[in-house]
């Protein structure tokens, strides 16, 4: 195991666990065993890193954003450019890892859930690379919002299965993927796209994504002569890109640890209820197999989440983040839709980099944070994905916003 958490029961503190139908438990046991016996082996790690290097294009750049740093007038801002990965987001790191493990386990079929479509594209890509078929579950609302990614998945040979139950977004796509898995568990591997789900998924996804943080350490050492920045900022949906860059720093002794800041989606505002800020405005609960911070009502009915970015539009957050939050190993803040759009526009205009709407939440936050810090301080932002998938929707929303502002 790479990190001190989760404990032997698959829990990060009290969080995590395995709240799933009994049918899946043997599959999870098999997976946990395969993960520790196969995936943690040197051979597997070598093969995994070979794909990361030769196919994904890792290491991804650590880019010093000189224009933005000057514009903000405070700390030096670096971006970890996961947007430059093949397929355009951090999701591919984990998809390759899980798919490779599945192949070693002799699985014949992949399934995946997706919100923004990035994990769906990543899974479909990994499936193509390893010659297997992949079915991707995606909420109908997200199919609309992320049409480009739907086409991409189909071209990659995947079947995209629109989900019309519940809120028609990521949460329901995940339910549907679990239903498929329960049904076809014997030959199907479920590639989960974030640090959520029953143990060992949150651990496994975290480990595969932690390449982001380990690379950052090395690259920052080269760029600044120190591997630890003053702050690390990442957006948090389920939390995989954030854990990927946080984890290698999170378990450092407290006095060596940088500020770790997870940026949740405040949607229309925390007070409106229309958001996806599970830590900032949720409470504990169980969803998709694990105990975590969650948005649900007094009766435990899951609340519909909202975010302008489909990838953050999820009412829960990974158990390890829930643990970090309680232990104050990381701080969690929330950024509204319209603020994220400002970040989206600003980074495009000032650095020529169009970020994913998800990542734009982190971009907006860092623009508030940097000016409060000294010029010799350093912030690393995880730029989890590129915004090509979002430009149509962002243009639509921005013009709606302008029209509304005009009215007031």
């Amino acid at each position: 195991m790479l990190f001190p958490q989760p404990n032997e029961k698959g829990r990060f503190g009290i969080y995590g666990g395995r709240y799933v139908p009994e049918t899946l438990i043997p599959a999870l046991d098999e997976l946990a065993k395969a993960y520790s016996e196969i995936a943690l082996s040197d051979d597997f790690q070598a093969e995994f890193h070979h794909y990361l290097k030769t196919y994904v294009g890792r290491p991804s750049l650590l880019y010093y954003a000189e224009n933005l740093s000057k514009y903000c007038g405070g700390a030096k801002i670096y971006f970890k450019r996961e947007d430059l990965n093949h397929t355009g987001a951090h999701k591919i790191n984990n998809a390759i890892g899980q798919a490779l493990l599945a192949k070693k386990m002799g699985k014949k079929r992949f399934i995946a859930e997706t919100g923004a479509g990035q994990h769906g594209v990543a899974s479909a890509t990994a499936a193509a690379l390893f010659g297997l078929h992949c079915t991707v579950y995606m909420g109908e609302e997200d199919v609309r919002r992320q049409a480009l990614n739907v086409y991409r998945m189909k071209l990659l040979g995947a079947t995209v299965s629109p989900v019309s139950s519940g809120t028609k977004t990521l949460k329901d796509a995940t339910n549907e993927a679990i239903r498929d898995w329960v049904t076809n568990v014997r030959d199907t591997f479920y590639i989960i796209g974030s640090v959520i789900g029953p143990h060992p998924y949150p651990m496994m996804t975290r480990d595969f994504q932690s390449v982001i943080g380990f690379e950052t350490m090395k690259q920052l050492e080269l760029a600044e002569g120190r591997s630890v920045p003053d702050a690390v900022v990442a957006c948090v949906g389920g939390g995989s890109n954030a854990i990927g860059i946080f984890a290698p720093y999170a378990y450092l002794p407290e006095n060596e640890r940088p500020k770790l800041i997870g940026v949740e989606a405040a949607g229309h505002g925390l007070e409106t209820g229309a958001h996806s800020a599970s830590i900032s405005a949720g409470k504990r609960g169980v969803l998709h197999g694990s105990l975590m911070y969650l948005m649900s009502n007094d009766d435990g009915q899951i609340s519909p989440a909202h975010s302008v970015s489909a990838g953050l539009d999820y009412p829960g957050v990974g158990p390890e983040h829930s643990f970090y939050a309680d232990e104050r190993m990381a701080n969690y803040v929330a950024v509204k839709d319209e603020e994220a759009l400002l970040g989206f526009k600003k980074l495009s205009e000032i650095e020529g980099i169009i970020p994913a709407l998800e990542s734009s939440h982190a971009v907006h936050y860092v623009m508030q944070l940097a000016p409060t810090m000294r010029k010799d301080q350093v912030i690393v932002v995880n730029l989890s994905g590129r915004g090509d998938k979002d430009v149509t929707e962002a243009m639509r929303v921005m013009s709606l916003m302008e029209a509304n502002n005009g009215k007031n």
């Binding site: 799933v20 899946l24 568990v185 169980v286 998709h288």
Partner: protein, 259 residues
């Protein structure tokens, strides 16, 4: 002996498999729920009441839709408890609550308060489709203290070790899932049901009921031949939703339950 064990005992005495019916709490609406439940209980031996839930990931479309419908009509946990109380006034047959874990976890006062309230309402047991016993180390002792039977599930994929663990944690009966899959009426069931029942019975004295996929006489009969109980849910919900002949269906199942 609790009501649940008693019901299985009586069925066995009558050389029958017990007929366990499932109905989503408050379905098709609060007013008709009690009538439907009582009508079903004329033929069924036990009743599972489903706590409607926003994210029923173990359920197929039929039960999903019934849950969405009643939630939209305003069903709550409190109202479900009330319905159980009202049913308890009308029947002495065993009543169980089938619920996902989050409504228990989020209940004011937690697991203890939830189980207490459930007992007060008159329920005899609880079925937990997404709470395997190894995640229930706080819930089980609380349920024992309240004398609420805990029914966990075994599945076709269960290993001997899992069977051991799950059956040990059960009280009242053991719920054996007929298929790898979610709830929902099916035309036929897999061949390996008898095997799972046999394996389960080999290590436990508790009655074993089989559910998921039973749609009528043809699917119920082979189960009744080997198991102590037959669970029927989606088929009932579907019949009610489509204004079908509920009575005919429950009689058909009851007939299949006879050995």
């Amino acid at each position: 002996m609790g009501r649940i064990s008693e019901a299985f005992h009586q069925a066995k005495e009558a050389n029958r498999s017990a007929f366990i019916a499932y109905l989503t709490g408050g379905f098709p609406d609060e007013a008709s729920f009690l009538d439907k439940a009582m009508s079903i209980l004329e033929d069924a031996d036990l009743l599972e009441i489903g706590l409607p839930y926003s994210d029923p990931l173990g359920d197929g479309p039929t039960i999903q839709k019934s849950s969405e419908q009643v939630l939209a009509q305003g069903m709550t946990t409190a109202k479900t408890f009330e319905l159980i109380s009202k049913l308890r006034e009308k029947t002495e047959k065993p009543l169980l609550l089938m619920t996902y874990y989050n409504p228990i976890y989020c209940y004011k006062g937690g697991e203890a308060a939830f189980l207490k309230k459930l007992k007060e309402a008159g329920a005899d047991g609880v079925i937990l489709p997404d709470l395997p016993p190894d995640q229930a180390d706080t819930l089980i002792p609380l349920a024992r203290a309240e004398d609420v039977d805990t029914v966990f599930l075994v599945a076709p994929t269960s290993t001997p070790e899992r069977l051991e663990l799950v059956t040990k944690a059960c009280r009242g009966f053991i719920y054996a899932v007929s298929v790898t899959g979610v709830t929902g009426a099916r035309a036929a069931l897999p061949q390996d049901v008898p095997d799972l029942v046999r394996r389960t019975k080999a290590i436990s004295d508790l009655p074993v009921a089989v559910g998921f996929g039973v749609s009528g006489y043809d699917t119920a009969k082979p189960i009744a031949d080997v198991a102590d109980g037959v669970v029927v849910g989606s088929a009932l919900i579907k019949t009610i939703a489509e204004n079908g002949d509920l009575k005919a269906l429950t009689r058909e199942i009851a007939r299949a339950c006879k050995r």
